[in-house]
């Protein structure tokens, strides 16, 4: 039994050192005139007001040649084709599942874009349509890839690869999508003994590293065997580390997660989320990341 009670600590003032990091960046708020030069093209997050290019969201100005966009720092997920996402089924419909992926609109997973048990080339029958709930039902989590983007911005997903599919036992962590670094692969078997799927939509899935997988199941079989305690400890620690990194706005990718995990090893898992421990871990992690880069 432990109840940790404390007085609040005031949020630290933005120090001059961290401000200097932002020096090179052009930050705007809605209504700010970015440029009155007419030679530029209007991109996302901007609008034209009497020949002046004006920001419509708060964020960072990005220029690509003549195109000016404003990238909001806090946003819902704007999917692009090929993004790896983690999502939760919200509805089973005719020939499709609705999936919550932290986007503006619910995403769609068509029955024709999943691998069903029995191999890739199996034809979809009316029976499959009736038994859709046996594969995925409301509340289930999946990993998938964005197949296409509809005109209204809704995403169409597919799971036509053995690495995608229904997720079994594990823990979901929600962070802001802008914190997930885009990489070649978003699936990692971390050397500390667990696996991670860094969904580009900010949904991160932590799970015990799987053994040999059965291909016949097509990714729709989940084991309900208890996960050993040692794996659990690693997963819980990773979960708290992810929250620490997210709270301090550090980009998430395999190396940063791993460094943070290693820096946290001197503390008990449940203490990681205490503010002072958080600060310490983040400092160590930042240092190691700088060393590695520099």
């Amino acid at each position: 039994m432990a109840a940790d009670m404390r007085l609040p600590t005031a949020g630290e003032q933005i120090s001059s050192s961290s401000l200097s990091l932002l020096d090179g960046k052009h930050l705007v708020v809605p209504g700010d005139v970015i440029t009155s030069d007419t030679g530029f093209m209007r991109g996302h997050g901007t609008y034209m007001d009497e020949e002046k290019l004006t920001a419509s969201v708060a964020g960072e100005v990005e220029r690509v040649n003549k195109l000016i966009c404003v990238r909001p720092l806090k946003t819902r997920f704007n999917g692009e084709v090929g993004d790896v996402v983690v999502g939760r089924i919200t509805e089973v419909q005719q020939k499709r599942w609705k999936v919550e992926t932290n986007s503006r609109l619910d995403s769609v997973l068509l029955l024709s874009s999943v691998n069903l048990p029995g191999g890739e080339l199996r034809r979809r029958s009316a029976e499959d349509e009736l038994s859709m709930r046996d594969y995925l039902q409301e509340g289930d989590l999946i990993s998938a890839e964005v197949q296409s983007v509809f005109a209204d911005g809704a995403l169409s997903l597919h799971t036509r690869s053995l690495k995608y599919g229904k997720l079994g036992q594990g823990v979901l962590v929600l962070v802001s999508p802008s914190l997930v670094k885009r990489q070649k692969t978003h699936f990692h078997n971390l050397p500390c003994g667990a696996s991670i799927i860094l969904g580009s939509n900010g949904y991160i899935w932590l799970y015990p590293t799987p053994g040999q997988q059965d291909e016949e199941a097509g990714g729709y079989y989940t084991s309900m065997e208890p996960v050993p305690l040692s794996d659990r400890e690693v997963i819980s620690r990773l979960r708290n580390c992810l929250l620490v990194l997210a709270a301090h706005k550090i980009l998430l990718y395999d190396t940063s997660v791993l460094y943070c995990f290693e820096s946290s090893l001197s503390h008990q898992i449940k203490d990681i989320l205490k503010p002072e421990v958080m600060d310490e871990i983040v400092m160590k992690t930042r240092q190691r990341l700088m060393e590695q880069e520099g």
């Binding site: 039994m1 432990a2 109840a3 940790d4 009670m5 404390r6 007085l7 609040p8 600590t9 005031a10 949020g11 939760r88 919200t90 409301e138 509340g139 289930d140 989590l141 997720l167 079994g168 036992q169 594990g170 823990v171 979901l172 989940t222 309900m224 208890p226 996960v227 305690l229 659990r232 400890e233 997963i235 819980s236 620690r237 979960r239 708290n240 008990q268 898992i269 449940k270 990681i272 989320l273 205490k274």
Partner: protein, 291 residues
Amino acid sequence: MASVQVSEAEKVYIMHGVRDDLRVDGRGCEDYRHMVIETDVVSNTDGSAKVSLGHSDILVGVKAEIGKPRALVPDEGYLEFFVDCSANATPEFEGRGGEELGIDLSNTLYKVFNNKHSIDLRSLCICPGEHCWVLYVDVLLLQCDGNLFDAISIAIKAALFNTRIPKVHISEDAEGGKEIELSDDPYDCVRLNVENVPCIVTLCKVGQRHVVDATLQEKACSVASLLLAVTHKGMVTCVRKMGGGSLDPESISEMTETGKRVGKALHAPLMDLLKKEEGLGKNRQKVGFLR
């Protein structure tokens, strides 16, 4: 109540974790998330407190007003509870969505304080049968992240500790008419004895074991929970079974035992903290809602 969706496999993972005494966030079965408490956050109240437990944020304001004592107990004041579930906390509370939960919460609070020892109601009496203090305890949910009952009870205790009721003097004129005079010195005030104010402990039955301070995910895995209000002496002032499941008699006695132990242990650190905060005096840097 604000709820989350959890898949079957996630539930299995959570339940096995509870069995192994290692919860998803690394806590043991009887650990609370860390709590941040601040009192005196709203200046227009006679006492206020803000408590955050995990991401559950509760704001409590206490206002003292002069009213007429209840006919059955002419020599006592009384407390009124109101819980507001604003749509700020979750869109589900929009419109009348939060009403049901709000009434449920305030009814439970009435039961928790339905005894003679929690607050000395006689100290709230000004003039028997005619005037007494009525303490309006208004609870505002700012964020919901599970375990509202416990957080609310702690916030109420802190707010009552912080409450200062102005002193009144009753003067009697020649014809026997009475007049109430409010002291105009702001430091001339009465404080409440909050020693016996209970704290609520909610135990959620997950699998074969029970956990305290359940997150929304853990709550989704449990079919029944037991709410206990426990004083610092270990007296139980309110028990309620919640949720759609049933409990067997053995687990009820186990849960009451745990609840009493955990609840009793909550009071000492809370009182220490409140005294420490008070010791910092007027110069204490107030944090309020900015963090």
